[in-house]
Subunit: 260 residues, 2 copies
DNA sequence: CGTGACATTGACTAGTATCAACCAAAGTGG
DNA sequence: CCACTTTGGTTGATACTAGTCAATGTCACG
C-alpha cells in the first residue's frame, strides 16, 4: 500500500481506482461508514457486517473517473459508501443516456455476467466497497438478510425504472422537469410520508443541465427553456441554475404527473 | 368451485380472475406446467415445487381482462403459467406506456407495498399462480433457491429496463423498431448464443401496432411509417402487419444499436 | 355484403433538436 | 490585479422528426 491512512482526505486526486485496504483501517470500520444505515448494509447486524467486510476491498476514485466501462470484464460488485456516481449508456455516435445518479448505500453491478452493460463515472470523490462476484453467492448463503435486502432493493429499483420509462416514453419536456424536481424534493427535503408541502421549497440541484438533459432524454437547450417556462408560469423560481425554489410544489407535482 | 376440471379449456370466457383450485388438479401438478422449466419454478426441485404449490392459488383470466389495476390493494404476487400479459402505466389524460409484455414463467408484483403501481391485462387466456404477499418471506426462507432465482431475474430485468430506457430516451423511431425486431428474433427464433443469422429470417409479430407504439414510445402512425421505411430500404419485408421478414438481420441490428 | 377493428397513407402541425450567438462565473497566467 | 480563456447556461432562429387529424385500405366476421 503506497497511500497512507489519510488517503480519503488527501488532496491529491487519484485517476484510477485505488485499493485502500482489504482489512486495514476501513476493513473493520463499517460502524462509522456513511452508508452503514442505508442500502444493503442496513440489513446486517454490526457483527455480521464486520464479517462481511472481510470479503470487501475498499476503493477510492477521484472525481471524473470512469471506473466502470461498458464491455469491460465485470469481476466486481460495488457498494457505494461515499460520493455520487453517474451511471450511463452510450450509442456509437455519442448519444448518451444517464440511467441514474447513485450515491451512498446504493450498489452497482449485481446483474452483470461477464462484462458490464453500463458505464459508471465518479461525479465527485467516490468511495466504494468492492466484492468479488464469484464470492457473492457464498456471501448470500452466509448472510441471508443481505440477499433478502438486495432482492427488495432490486424490486424497488425496477419499479423506479418503470416510472422513468413512462416519463421517457410519454411525458413532455415540462412534465419531465417537473417530475424531476418533485422527486428531488421528496428525496431530500425531509418530506417524510411522501407528502409535498403546500408552501415554497428551496432546492439545490445537484446536476448540470447537461446531465439533466441526458437523464431526462432531452437536450440542454430544451431543459433550459423548460425551466424558463416553469418560471414564467410561476411554478418555480431561480436566480442561478442550481438554486431552484418550488413556488407551488403540489401544482408542480400535478404537472409532473401529467395532469390533463 | 363452480367451474369444473375443464375450466382452462372451457370456451366460456371469464371476465374476472377465477380461482381454479388451491389444492386440486393443478395444485399438485407443477410437473406438467408450461412454466415448470422457466422463471422462478425452474429453481426448485420437483419435491420443493410441489411443496411450494400448496401455498399457491391457481387462477385463470379471460383475454382482455384487466386483472391488476394501478392503485388497487396488492395482496398477491403472481407467476404467469400460461398466456401473455400486457403490463402498462397510464397518465391521467390517457397517454399509455407499455412497460413490457410478459408470458409464461415471468412474475408480477414482487416490489409492491400496499398497492400495485401498474396495470396488467391478459392479451389472451392467461393462467396464473398466485401467492399471498405476506407469506412470501416465509416461502423465501423455506426455499432459498427461490429467493436466489428471483434476485437473479430481477437484476436482469433491471438491466433490460435500462436498455429500454436508452431506447426511449435516445433512439429514433426507425432505431426503436429495428431494436424491437432484433430482440424478438433473438428471443424466439432459436438464435441461441445471441448471434443473429446473416440470412433472412421470418418473424411473427405478436402485438398490434397500437401496443407496439405504446411500448416504444411512438404513435401507431409513426410505427407504420417506420416499418414502411425499413421495407423501402430493403432491411425488412412484409405482406401483412404481423408477418415480417428480416432480410438483413445484422444490418438491422446495426440500425437498432444506433450505428452512426 | 355490411360492419368494425386494425393498418396505411397523406397533409399539416407542433414540439423538440440543431445551430449559433451571447452571457456569466470561475479559473489561469502574466 | 486584470486580460484571457474555459466552462456551463441562456436565448434566438430555423430545421426536422414525430405527432395530429383525416381519409382510405384491408381483413375477419356476422
Amino acid at each position: 500500500m503506497i497511500m497512507g491512512i489519510d488517503m480519503f482526505t488527501d488532496s491529491a486526486v487519484i485517476r484510477r481506482p485505488v485499493v485502500i485496504t482489504a482489512s486495514g483501517r476501513h476493513g473493520s470500520r463499517c460502524d462509522d461508514c456513511e452508508a452503514r444505515h442505508s442500502g444493503m448494509c442496513d440489513a446486517l447486524s454490526d457483527e455480521d457486517l464486520s464479517l462481511l467486510s472481510r470479503s470487501a476491498q475498499h476503493v477510492a476514485v477521484a472525481a471524473g473517473t470512469l471506473f466502470i466501462e461498458e464491455g469491460d470484464q465485470s469481476p466486481y460488485f460495488y457498494n457505494i459508501t461515499h460520493g455520487n456516481v453517474r451511471v450511463f449508456r452510450l450509442l456509437p455516435d455519442g448519444r448518451r443516456h444517464i440511467t441514474g445518479f447513485m450515491s451512498g448505500g446504493q450498489f452497482l453491478g449485481l446483474a452483470e455476467t461477464g462484462t458490464y452493460a453500463f458505464n459508471a463515472e465518479a461525479m465527485d470523490e467516490v468511495h466504494l466497497c468492492r466484492f468479488n462476484r464469484v464470492a457473492l453467492n457464498g456471501l448470500f448463503s452466509e448472510f441471508p438478510a443481505l440477499e433478502r435486502r438486495l432482492l427488495n432493493i432490486s424490486a424497488h429499483e425496477l419499479t423506479a425504472a418503470h416510472e422513468q420509462m413512462l416519463l421517457l416514453a410519454r411525458k413532455t419536456a415540462a412534465e419531465r422537469i417537473a417530475s424531476y424536481l418533485v422527486n428531488l424534493a421528496l428525496r431530500h427535503e425531509g418530506c417524510v410520508n411522501g407528502m409535498l408541502p403546500a408552501a415554497a421549497l428551496a432546492l439545490d440541484l445537484p446536476v448540470s443541465r447537461s446531465d439533466l438533459a441526458d437523464y431526462l432524454g432531452l437536450t440542454i437547450e430544451t431543459v433550459s427553456r423548460s425551466f424558463a417556462n416553469l418560471k414564467k408560469t410561476g411554478l418555480i423560481d431561480f436566480h442561478n441554475a442550481h438554486a431552484v425554489t418550488l413556488l407551488k410544489p403540489r401544482q408542480l407535482a400535478a404537472v409532473g404527473n401529467g395532469a390533463a
